[in-house]
């Protein structure tokens, strides 16, 4: 398969930058020599990463040991896990999840965790070797924010978690089992759910049927932000949303980065009202000027902010349509 990446349209990979902020905090790379200079360790989001190039011979465990020895870990509230090995291709996130879970008692105030702040310059998102992340939810009952990037080997078991406010899986292809497991979770406080569905080429075999529980809304009574992003099946997702009960409770509906065409946009226009939304994010789409105009007109009149930026041109061939984040 050949894909046209960047330049004059045609989609393309977009995870180009490491996080600069997370959970409302500036992200700072942990290094043994900079940790002492920091005043309040709760004021920062600490990123732990091994350089994916060069001569860093430490293991993740050694890096984590250094972190626990150097920083007042009992006050840390936000952690970002970057590249966890110098060569990422044969090392999964399992060691990271195991270590964090095992040391949960030493991180009593951890509220926000990002697992996999890795750009395409560091490693392909679809090649990041993930793992079962359920142990994190079990080990950190007071976690409020969990974002996970990458889906190769990703797993989740349905659990109940009382405190989680935000859950996101950023993937080039979300396994159907994970989508169903999310729908099977009881997350009474969840406000923000983001699933990057991706494409079957990269393991994204989630269909609309795997989103049934999520679209029903009952399990997440506080949900206000629903992102079903980066979806090759964006049109089917839009069609399902046209009648999905969950929509009535949302403030933000995010269908960005996918392959949304006039077909999906028509479903949105003719389905249930979207006027209660504060924002509809459709950036990176394949709508015609006409449909984009109608959407903008109808929703703007209703007071909804609509993001229709990054209009992609598929050319003459459907094969040229891509989700924003694949490889």
């Amino acid at each position: 398969m050949v894909r046209l990446d960047s330049g004059m349209g045609g989609g393309g990979v977009t995870i180009s930058s490491n996080l600069e902020s997370f959970a409302g905090r500036r992200v700072v790379d942990f290094a043994p020599d900079n940790a002492a200079a920091v005043g309040d360790p709760a004021a920062l989001a600490w990123r732990l990463r091994l350089e994916s190039y060069g001569d860093d011979r430490r293991s993740f465990d050694e890096l984590f040991d250094q972190f626990l020895e150097t920083v007042a870990a009992d006050r840390v509230e936000a952690l970002v896990m970057g590249t966890w090995a110098a060569e990422m291709y044969d090392v999964s996130a399992e060691a990271v999840v195991r270590r964090l879970s095992a040391d949960a008692a030493r991180l009593p105030r951890l509220r926000s965790l990002f697992l996999g702040d890795i750009t395409f310059e560091e490693f392909e998102i679809s090649w990041i070797r993930q793992t079962d992340v359920t142990p994190l939810l079990l080990a950190f009952p007071r976690l409020e924010r969990l974002r996970v990037r990458g889906a190769d080997g990703l797993a989740l078991r349905p659990v109940r978690h009382e405190q989680l406010l935000e859950l996101a899986f950023e993937t080039g292809g979300l396994p159907a089992e994970v989508a169903r497991a999310v729908g099977g979770c009881d997350l009474p406080r969840l406000e923000h759910l983001e699933l990057w569905l991706g494409t079957p080429d990269y393991g994204g075999d989630s269909g609309v049927g795997d989103l049934t529980e999520i679209l029903a809304g009952a399990r997440f009574p506080r949900l206000r932000y629903l992102g079903l992003c980066n979806a090759e099946i964006a049109d089917q997702v839009a069609a399902a949303l046209a009648t999905a009960p969950v929509v009535a409770q949302l403030e933000v509906l995010d269908l960005s980065m996918g392959v949304l065409t006039d077909q999906g946009a028509t479903a949105l226009l003719t389905g249930q009202p979207l006027s209660q939304l504060r924002r509809l994010d459709l950036h990176h789409h394949y709508l015609s000027d006409e449909l984009a105009g109608r959407l903008r007109q109808q929703l703007t009149a209703a007071g909804v902010e609509v993001d229709l930026s990054e209009q992609e041109d598929a050319g003459e061939d459907d094969e040229d349509r891509y989700v924003a984040v694949g490889e």
């Binding site: 894909r3 490491n18 970057g82 310059e121």
Partner: protein, 400 residues
């Protein structure tokens, strides 16, 4: 070193006469001529590359000679390659053949200039030959202590490349034609667990058994090993430089690197190149990033260290007035490396420093004599690794 480097035969600001070796009608030549005229000097004479390629070389005594790009002229290109016909538009042609012709032309030019009284050459033919030989250039930089990505030795094809990468323990590399430029034929290659991904502007066209490679303005990704093997084999036939993929930092949602023009030892013009693909060349739909913002993000000390590296890279070519260094910056800014030193990377229209574009800055450096000081002092910044005799190797006769 055969080219004369005697002090200026003409008085600074007085009887200075520039000659530009270039392609008449090319934008580069026009922009340099404009800078010369703006300095109140007589317009430069142009010695066309076509004439150089055919041995018609005449330079007036006492001239200051600037050697500019031979590119964007299909007849010059044809003669360098010794081909019967001009190349098809966009077709990736023989880099090695082109380089042999280019070097031969440089050697003839060098001979002629050495025999012309009072001539001063602003960019030494030997240096240009090294800069168009990526493996050699990288070795020279490394020997001078300039950080460069580690590289493999020569590889003959896809299978040999895979074996060499496995032995080195690298799964991410850049494969570059040894004598290419402007990202032509460059492949960002990732291999892991039996999977392969090649990101490149190369367009592979199959026509029955016939396979042709084209330069494209759109970056493509190939993940079928058969396609990747065809592309890599074609590139290897002409010689490649394979270096470890240095992960580049991102800024504002784009991957970036820095193009820094060093003129007489000063890093005067810096342009951030921002991309959504691993290839940052601006003609691939990428755009200029915000250098002020990058500098602020890096911090003054880190920025200064990066600029020092660029100057030290330039110091490997002390008798060349201007080079353009492509600098890679790692996430977190903790390290950097030189990806390329470009001989003709100063075409940055509209980028001003102290009110001068790259061309005006070069004229200015010559008028105030800074280039002579640079040639004298740069040696202390770099220790040349290899005898500077690239031009002498592989000289081929003129094809006309």
């Amino acid at each position: 070193m055969r080219t004369a480097t005697s002090p200026l035969a003409s008085d600074p600001g007085g009887g200075i006469r520039f000659t530009v070796v270039g392609n008449a009608g090319n934008r580069r030549v026009a922009l340099f001529a404009a800078a010369v005229r703006a300095a109140g000097l007589p317009p430069p004479r142009v010695l066309p590359w076509l004439d150089v390629a055919c041995g018609r070389i005449a330079v007036e005594a006492g001239a200051l000679v600037r050697i500019d790009s031979p590119g964007e002229d299909e007849e010059v290109d044809r003669r360098f390659r010794g081909a019967a016909e001009p190349a098809e538009h966009g077709r990736i042609k023989s880099f090695a053949g082109w380089y042999r012709g280019f070097r031969a032309a440089l050697a003839r030019l060098d001979d002629e200039l050495a025999g012309t009284p009072g001539v001063q050459v602003l960019n030494r033919p030997d240096d240009l030959a090294v800069m168009f030989d990526k493996p050699r250039c990288a070795r020279q930089l490394a020997a001078a202590g300039v950080p460069v990505p580690p590289a493999l030795g020569p590889v003959a094809g896809w299978e040999e490349l895979q074996a060499a990468l496995a032995a080195a323990g690298w799964n991410r590399t850049f494969v570059k034609p040894a004598h290419g430029s402007s990202a032509s034929g460059v492949v960002a290659l990732a291999i892991a667990g039996g999977r392969v991904r090649a990101t490149t502007p190369v367009e592979l066209v199959r026509d029955g058994r016939d396979v042709r490679l084209y330069n494209s303005l759109r970056v493509r990704t190939y993940d079928d090993e058969r396609d990747v093997a065809v592309i890599v084999n074609a590139l290897c036939a002409d010689g490649v430089h394979v270096e470890r993929w240095f992960p580049k930092a991102g800024l504002d949602g784009r991957v970036i690197d820095l193009r820094v023009v060093v003129i007489a030892g000063r890093p005067t013009h810096a342009v951030v190149r921002a991309s959504r693909s691993p290839l940052t060349n601006l003609h691939l739909g990428n755009r200029r990033g915000d250098a002020t913002r990058l500098r602020a993000a890096m911090g003054e000390r880190t920025w200064a260290t990066a600029m020092t590296t660029c100057v030290r890279a330039a110091a490997c070519f002390p008798r060349t007035l201007q080079v353009a260094v492509d600098l890679l910056l790692a996430p977190g800014w903790r390290r950097h490396a030189v990806a390329e030193v470009n001989a003709f990377g100063d075409l940055l229209p509209g980028v001003l420093a102290s009110g001068r574009d790259t061309y005006a800055e070069q004229v200015h450096a010559v008028l105030c004599g800074r280039h002579l000081a640079w040639a004298r002092n740069a040696g202390s910044l770099a220790r040349p690794a290899e005898p500077q005799d690239a031009v002498r190797q592989g000289v081929v006769p003129c094809t006309t």
